[in-house]
Amino acid sequence: MVHGMTIRGKAYIVGVYEHPGRELPDLNIPQIHAEVASGALADAGLGFGDVDAYLCAGDAPGFGPLSMIEYMGLKCSYVDSTETGGSSYVCHVGHAASAIAAGKCQVALITLAGKPRTGGGQPGAARGPGGPESNFEFSWGLSGPVGGYALAAQRHMHEFGTTSAQLAEIKVAASLHAQHNPNAFLRRPVTVDEVLDSPIVSSPLHRQDCCVVTDGGGALVVVSPEVARDLPRRGAKILGHGEAPKHTDNGRIDLTHTGAVWSGPRALEEAGISLGDIDYVSIYDSFTITVLMTLEDLGFCEKGRGGDFVRDGTLVAPHGKLPFNTDGGGLCNNHPANRGGMTKVLEAVRQLRGEAHPAVQVPDCTIAMAHGTGGNLATRMGSATLVLGTEDA
């Protein structure tokens, strides 16, 4: 990193909004984008007329940002449609902060919306036809993303002795959090045995190792320090961001590592903090194995020891060693548009504002990390890590 060229403290997340719906048959996708945009701007104390930058990913319909900027009547001097699957929105926060730091814009709006549950939504572009790799990946009966994540889980178990019961601990922790979230799609706490007794979808992953499929959306508003200063509510200071695409590396596929091994250290270096400073983490949880490998790759435990790390309530808020996904995460709460990066940032901001549910609010939460994963775990994937702090962090 070039010294002096950092986003640390150059921008703030001042507005967040998560659509309360999980089944939205009567809304179309542009309407959901606009509803969550309204919600996040209202949360910030700003209006559509204040927005001068718009960021979205592949879930935005039509011509993407051009269609949605038109639909919402925005006037923008900056636009970004970075598409790295579910990690996109974590990238967007870093990109918005960079643009604000460079003086390109002052108020950036980021939106996500989709309807995979009731139809009309894009399934997500992680494995679309027409790629140069497509001829070699479309004939094997992959049914959605679960197969690719199962392949990674099987290899992790083989190399490190990770067990299904250890993976189940991650779902259990998420379910304990979700019971306090009135909007969560699955609110009932589950046990390790219940996860193990759920049907195998793609071995070794059970149904309850998989995230929910929900309609919905979310939005963020990122602003300059000058704008943040005059707003009525406290926001979250952006301290650091890192991103790292990972690919199949000319056939040297390594199924046991994600791009978090690179994005995490980049974000920490920019933030000027170490892992021990982190009070709360949002970790993308498309599947339980996603969380386990990400925790290892971010450095919270040694590679291969994730199974031990997640036992004994490590991830359970408020008093576990590393409270995670206190909204219930994608495993229980919400996974709008099949893309979980947005909700990861939303809950991290709630924690820093002290506005998580009291039962799961981490005491004195000062530093939070949000990590997004996109695409196919460990093979062709996006990774993005964000470090956030309270306003005086």
């Binding site: 140069p132 479309f138 004939s139 009966g141 049914s143 199962a150 392949l151 793609s202 590396d249 000319n250």
Partner: protein, 140 residues
Amino acid sequence: MTTSNPTGPLPASAPHPNPDDAPFWEAAAEDRLVLPRCTSCGTFIWYPRTFCPECRKIGVDWVEASGRGVVYSFTVTHRGAGPWAEHAPYVIAYVELDEGPRVMTNIVDVDPDRVRIGDRVTAVFQPAGDTKVLRFRPGG
């Protein structure tokens, strides 16, 4: 013995050969596995293409490969979509070819419950449109 294809061969989407990979599909139609090897640096390239991601030069030779390898990872899929539904459970795997690359494929002619990482496997070609796709069966 239960096999992964009790209802006949697994479905296979017809590939769309293009200037990057046409020689692969021409050989596959004749039950031969060929791999592109960089003309400049000699590295095998996977997935097949004419641009070498190692030395970033354009140009490959198509080299006959052994068709043998080991299972690097696998998953037994219990819920297939569309034409795959009636074939579940079936095995999706990465096979590490003896030439090096790890390739996505199916393991066929096998009891899915008996597949293990490290199993030796051998190429088998199964019809897909005007050509065939590369799958593997136990042995070799």
